[in-house]
Symmetry: C2
Subunit: 441 residues, 2 copies
């Protein structure tokens, strides 16, 4: 009798937390199936060890299902409507009359991942980067994230330092982002907006805690979050926002966060790319002679399955650049920087280079489309490493357009985006509203 | 000795075909992992039955790996470079100087799935539809596709007939597509192009075999394939082309197929949607009062993971419509018609309606964005069934824009697309090339 009682209680109790976790996975997804089946080996082991009859199996299954249902309902009750919508992959829907921000209470915070300022900072930067489960998720990451991060940093530190050495030691991102923040603040000032623009990094200084402390010292109440990843991903903008909110909870819980509207289709942002592409041409050359490859950073495929709009938004930006260029053929999107055994967004830049050269194209122009400042991924990976590969494949002319950095059209796009979130100023209500209406998207 | 020999040979031989199949799946994908592990239960069963020692397990694993490698290499050798690129998800790359078609040798074939002309045709149409593994893949479809199709048709025939009854009995698609073919032929004639335009369906007449026979009778050599699914998917355009080529192999192997360029970003195609949206407004009404939901047909998520660009292209079309409308907020994409236990593209139209009404929006305009003619999915699903749901949710004003059908701007887009594949006519080379250059994409 006792073994049957133990087995029954175990089948029921073990499945309650599993049902709780499962309820937060998309129905019939791999993770959903995993959490349903996870307790089976344990229950089988117990059944064999306790020596219960196989006729008891249906009862065990019934109790397991009951446990799953209890766990799921428990989660369902504690779940907010935001969580329910996230599971259904409903994107953020603008509230009917979203509150516009008061300029005098607002700090604009530009978001980026950051980078090591000198080569000595490389291991510390990478440790923080890989330890973030929002950025990259290892198998059973809730247990082993730290271990995998340590492994990666240990085995890749030397190679990483060498790569940063190739681009002059460290990353230029701190200085570049600082220049962008100043340019945006000046553009807003030109429009009569006195507003502080700062920047905040995720894995190097200024860290989220420093940013929040600075806002607290300034006494302002509203933070307008403006990502320097124009295409939304949980791994980039999502992670930035998560850690800022976490820091605010500790340091300055009174602060209010507002996310700026998206600008990945803004005319100014698109025009900045068009100009950077055309800057690569020498006098007398035609862009028609080049095959264009748009090269965004890759993401693991699970992000797409979980509803991340990154890849969709990239393709929209590319379509708009092509329309502006009047280009319909001889272009492609290829993703860079995939690592490890997971499935990533395809095609890879490497495979694309092979495919394009196999067709006999000898002149290529690579456009690192998801970056607004130059990174290790552009300066080293595309401009040095893939250039070598292209040379081996017989490419005669290989060019990369530079990052848009402080292009005036890009700064205009950022300023329009900020203004779209601010309350219109009384004397110019109509002009300003019209301006933003015309230029965003 | 004999049991060990049997087990060894089995472990080796069973894995060769598995390795052959695996080699055609993306590395580390679920299917890839499946074909590696598929023989394990058989081998375990044999080991237990034959009573071999557990110390022989590593030898068995070694032989299984060898079998997988042999199978994989065998496939690798028989694989074309096109297959290799398909696995790497390299999109079709334009050859450097693609041969332009000779007008006098060309028939334009408009592609669509078709539909039952009368209610009596419903079961036959559905049987063909569900039996196509390119359209919908059931679990272990290589064995059970027919069985699942029979199940679905048997249990859904009555409901399906009732739904077709609601839209007047049968589908209007035969007549609608015929009108589009005639309008395109007339537009091409106006441009001085004497060229036959016909249409071909996949699951109702005219079937691929009839289309190919008609082309053979006309004695023409080139078929220009122009899909009425503007956004490419293996499930729609891909399946259409597959069955046409299959029929040609039997009936008229001399025929050459050329795929027309994509037109999902063509200005005329976009403008047709903009006009259909604005046609829904009565005098004095403003589009600003409506929440816009773009509603394409859903696809199972595995299609996205396998590199299907459908969802990306949809989002590009929507972005271009929004730019034209000057709209930046109060819009969303929501997929309709998902069925069964697989994961499909999200959010669903149903979930989106709930989310939007929860925010207090009472006026909705649904744009069935992936359809060019009205279907059961638009006329019945969106206009009748989801209208009822919206009513229950408290929507006061629910509208659906009509399909673009024979909108002159859409026909212009199709004509431009056809001309882009045809050799320019001598006297007007520059004008024609310029025209197409400006208008495609």
């Amino acid at each position: 009798m006792v073994p049957y009682l133990i087995l029954s209680v175990a089948a029921l109790l073990v499945n309650i937390p599993m049902g709780y976790i499962r309820e937060n996975c998309p129905q019939f997804s791999l993770r959903w199936l995993f959490w349903i089946h996870a307790p089976i080996p344990l229950i089988i082991y117990m059944r064999v060890t306790l020596g219960t009859s196989k006729w008891f199996i249906p009862v065990g299954i019934f109790l397991a299902v009951v446990g799953q249902v209890i766990g799921g309902r428990w989660r369902g009750k504690t779940r907010s409507s935001e969580e329910v919508e996230r599971l259904k992959q409903i994107p953020a829907i603008d509230a009917p009359d979203q509150k516009k921000l008061d300029e005098s209470q607002t700090t604009v915070v530009l978001l980026n991942m950051g980078g090591p300022r000198t080569n000595a900072d490389v291991p510390d930067f990478q440790k923080r980067l890989f330890a973030d489960p929002l950025l990259i998720r290892f198998p059973l990451s809730f247990l082993f994230q730290g271990f995998f991060a340590w492994l990666l940093v240990t085995f890749r530190a030397k190679a990483a330092r060498e790569r940063y050495q190739l681009i002059g030691g460290g990353s230029p991102i701190f200085e570049s982002t600082g220049r962008q923040a100043r340019a945006l603040q000046e553009e807003l000032a030109r429009r009569g907006r006195k507003i502080d623009v700062v920047f905040s990094f995720n894995y190097s200084a200024p860290f989220p805690e420093e940013t929040i402390s600075a806002v607290q010292r300034s006494g302002k109440r509203d933070v307008l979050l403006l990502s320097l990843y124009p295409h939304y991903s949980k791994a980039t903008t999502g992670s930035n926002i998560y850690y800022l909110k976490k820091a605010a909870k500790q340091i300055y819980p009174e602060v209010q966060f507002t996310e700026a509207p998206a600008y990945y289709l803004h005319d100014g942002y698109i025009q900045a790319f068009v100009d950077r592409i055309q800057e690569q041409l020498k006098p007398g050359e035609s862009l028609d002679d080049f095959y264009l490859i748009f090269s965004p950073h890759s993401l693991p495929l699970y992000s797409l399955v979980e509803g991340d709009p990154y890849a969709f938004q990239i393709s929209q930006t590319v379509a708009k650049i092509l329309t502006r260029l009047g280009r319909t053929t001889r272009w492609g999107i290829a993703y860079q920087s995939a690592v490890g055994p997971l499935q990533w967004l395809k095609p890879s830049l490497e495979d694309m280079l092979e495919a394009v050269t196999r067709r006999g194209y000898k002149k290529l122009l690579i456009v690192p489309v998801a970056f607004v400042t130059d990174h290790i991924e552009t300066l080293c990976e595309v401009d040095i490493e893939y250039r070598q590969l292209a040379g081996k494949l017989g490419v005669a002319d290989y060019r990369m357009s530079r990052a848009i950095e402080c292009h005036p059209e890009f700064i205009r796009a950022l300023a329009d985006t900020v203004e779209a979130a601010l309350a219109p100023r009384a004397p110019e209500v109509h002009r300003s509203a019209q301006f933003v209406h015309e230029h965003i998207v």
